[in-house]
């Protein structure tokens, strides 16, 4: 794969390089994160987890992937 086919996005505040045709679903699969334990925000909008395949990522997109941790 040439550099041309790669794009840079921000995932949880960190710059990440992915394939240019990646969907949110591809990203979650690549990161090996269990879908039933997370929520995803795409450019400040919460995305229904059933619709992740429909969101195709573009350059400089910001993705937040959150889960539950211990808290009071």
């Amino acid at each position: 794969m040439t550099k041309k086919n790669k794009i840079k996005i921000i995932v949880n505040g960190k710059q990440t390089t992915i394939n240019s045709n990646f969907s949110l679903k591809n990203l979650v699969d690549k990161l090996q994160i269990p879908l039933n334990k997370i929520a995803i925000e795409y450019n400040k909008q919460i995305i229904d987890k059933k619709k992740l395949k429909k969101v195709i990522l573009s350059k400089n997109d910001r993705v937040e992937i959150v889960h539950f941790i211990g808290g009071g």
Binding site: I65, F68, G70, G71, G72
Partner: protein, 258 residues
Amino acid sequence: MKNKDKFIIAKKNYSSRLIVGTGKYKSMIECAKAVKISGADIVTVAVRRVNISDKNKPLLMDYINPKKITYLPNTAGCFSSDEALRTLRLAREIGGWKLVKLEVLGDKKTLFPDAIETLKSTEVLSKEGFKVMVYCNDDPLMAKRLENAGACAIMPLAAPIGSGLGIQNKINLKIIRCQTKLPVIIDAGIGQASDATQAMELGCDGVLINTAIAKAKNPFEMAEAMKFAVISGRKSFLSGRINPNLFGSASTSNRGII
């Protein structure tokens, strides 16, 4: 004997009046064990970024099963209504949680709640169908406003979060308890078991404890102490204490005295 003393929040009955936080523990194993010993069936949890660089990092859900224990997502660390709303909407998306704990802080040093931002958030969340348990100061007027805004439980502080100072304003807490039909749950400031008992003896419906258990020298023993403290305080409250009297009243009859 059938226990008729029910602890109901947003139309759901819970067996334990002790709610525990899951922060500040040395490990998730320690946290899960303390939760089990405490007998709590609700735990508070926070929403944070997934660590994408360490995929093997343990997940809370692997240690505390949300199908067996009710997760109460909170907004710890939020200092504005926008941040709190964003956090709880994300929490709902994780697993459909509607019962949430709203906590909008106003000051980094005292961790006192921002009453205006809290009220604003309560109104919005209630309209969106959330069942909002609200952390607030021990202010009866604000507690009433939160109730009117749609809160499902009032959670006044006993003292600043994590301070362990115990109950500082018994009168206000009692007034809050007397003026509302909602459950009143003491949130923050409990330091030792007797504080939890005292909260329950005031008539409060429950207690939320995190630091006092997690940071105790022996969290497991403290978890058990808190469990019994809450049960004891509740029983004491329901039993109806004697009237306090300035002077003595002998326990033994004088009849037949020699």
